[in-house]
Amino acid sequence: MKQGIFVISENEHLTPAVMKMKLLGDASAITAPGQFINIKLDGMFLRRPISVYDADAESVTIIYKIVGQGTEKMSRMNAGEKLDILTGLGNGYDMSLSGDAPLLIGGGVGVPPLYMLAKKLIAQGKKVSVILGFNTKDEIFCEEEFKALGAEVSVATADGSYGIKGFVTDAMKDGYTYFYTCGPEPMLKAIYKTSSTSGQFSFEERMGCGFGACMGCSCKTVTGYKRICKDGPVLEKEEILWKK
């Protein structure tokens, strides 16, 4: 983990409710896809944890949904403004287990952390398939970005307004060697049930510090108590214990 001041270089809408923000600064602490950053905002006591969409040594890009006062404040920020950010938080995805043909499954704001993962897996020569799930056509983002990486992309919409009608699970076809997923808990549960291989799940929980100090985001797993922010957000299929 590193603390640093970042300068906003881009903050633009991808959909009415989803924005992409590029931040320039020392991002060297980001070591794995699926990690997150924690952003301090004026007037807000707690930082805002947001998963990393893409990063290199000098920049980090996030895609966030406007849901509350914090993200609403972020949506009104302009290029040139500065932010105090903790980077390199969380374990991130373990790429060593992917096999030759990994499947990446993202739902809604669970899509962004899969981008850097796909990029790195493809760079390793893996045959990457991606399934993106959204409620409806107007909420779709990043389809082109994944295609541009060379991934095989299919999109599912709950209302059938685009791509496959239904949930991401309706778009899952066998043949993948391993899977990585991030999205709302009902989606994760459905994937847990229907998936034919092992895989990794990225979880969300309301966090205090985001770096393991406060125990605010603990969960029970087969391998003991874990902190979503520090021992997670990524858990392996075999260790998950779903909340009742």
Binding site: Q3, R206, A213, C214, M215, S218, K230
Partner: protein
């Protein structure tokens, strides 16, 4: 060169800054960020007789200038703390550490403190009496002088280390409880623990915290903390550790003027993992600004 050292129950601290229990884990994870030997000491995660997962999540709610937490004393239990956590700490922290102890019965407290009494690393026992007393209708030990007295006596009987009682601010008369602890043999008082608070999610119409209510901390509660530290420090003869919303070096000085011998920093660590390092580094400049040569001399110095 300003003098920052203070003495807390016979042990000298290089400076009065102490990360508060529950905001600094067992220390070694913060040691990856900076050399924690620069701290006066720190109070480790609230430890109980048995391992605890704590409360269901969500456990955190944001507030204006603060936060509510309802972690529920998640900890591996005193055996594992002694067997696994403290050995890890000893590799990166060479000073006496403050052991924070919680319990749900007088026997719990005594059991845990007796175990920790044997550990050389432990300099002080900070006994948190803000937890519900399961044999006392769930009211917290810290809300009744009698219960606080019982706990204090039971703990003093099993340890030779200084015992500091950590008090809850959710009471009508904090002074009477502090005095009861002192009379029962407490070597120090630390306050304030969190205020009981609640937030409701307007979207779901449910409490933000799964446990409905939780402990409210952060800079928002600082004025209540200063007031109680002032009232208690005037009333007792043992040292007082001030805490509650401290987030900068100026707050440390204000707490000491109110009567604090040392100052704990809590929620600020969760927003900025370097908060205590920054405060310690800023202290000399703040002392100079206000003409303070020796921090010891301003303890209780409010006119």
């Amino acid at each position: 060169m300003e003098k920052m050292s203070v003495e807390l129950c016979g042990i000298t601290l290089d400076n009065p800054v102490i990360p508060a229990s529950g905001t600094f884990g067992y220390g070694y994870e913060f040691a990856e960020l900076y050399d924690i030997n620069m701290l006066g000491t720190f109070s480790f995660k609230g430890t109980t007789k048995d391992p605890r997962f704590g409360n269901p999540t969500p456990r955190i709610a944001e507030c204006t200038a603060g936060m509510i937490n309802a972690v529920g004393l998640q900890n591996p239990g005193v055996e594992k703390v002694i067997g696994e956590e403290l050995p890890k700490l000893s590799k990166c922290f060479s000073k006496p550490v403050m052991a924070n102890v919680s319990g749900f019965s007088v026997e719990d407290y005594a059991y845990t403190c007796e175990k920790l009494d044997k550990i050389e690393q432990v300099g002080w026992l900070e006994v948190n009496v803000s937890c519900p007393n399961v044999h006392g209708g769930g009211m917290s030990f810290g809300t009744q002088p009698e219960a606080a007295t019982e706990v204090t006596k039971a703990v003093k009987a099993v340890t030779s280390k200084p015992v500091i009682l950590k008090l809850s601010p959710n009471v009508t008369d904090i002074v009477s409880i502090a005095k009861a602890c002192e009379e029962a043999g407490a070597d120090g008082i630390s306050l304030i623990n969190t205020l009981l608070g609640m937030r409701i999610d307007l979207r779901t119409r449910k409490p933000v915290i799964a446990n409905t209510m939780g402990g409210f901390s952060g800079s928002a509660i600082f004025p209540v903390a200063v007031r109680m530290v002032y009232q208690v420090a005037k009333a007792v003869n043992v040292p007082v550790i001030g805490m509650g919303g401290v987030s900068c070096a100026r707050d440390v000085v204000e707490m000491m003027l109110a009567g604090a011998t040392a100052v704990e920093v809590g929620a600020a660590n969760l927003v900025d993992p370097f908060a205590c390092k920054t405060i310690i580094e800023e202290l000399p400049a703040v002392m100079e600004q206000y003409g303070i040569k020796d921090l010891k001399e301003i303890i209780g110095g409010v006119k």
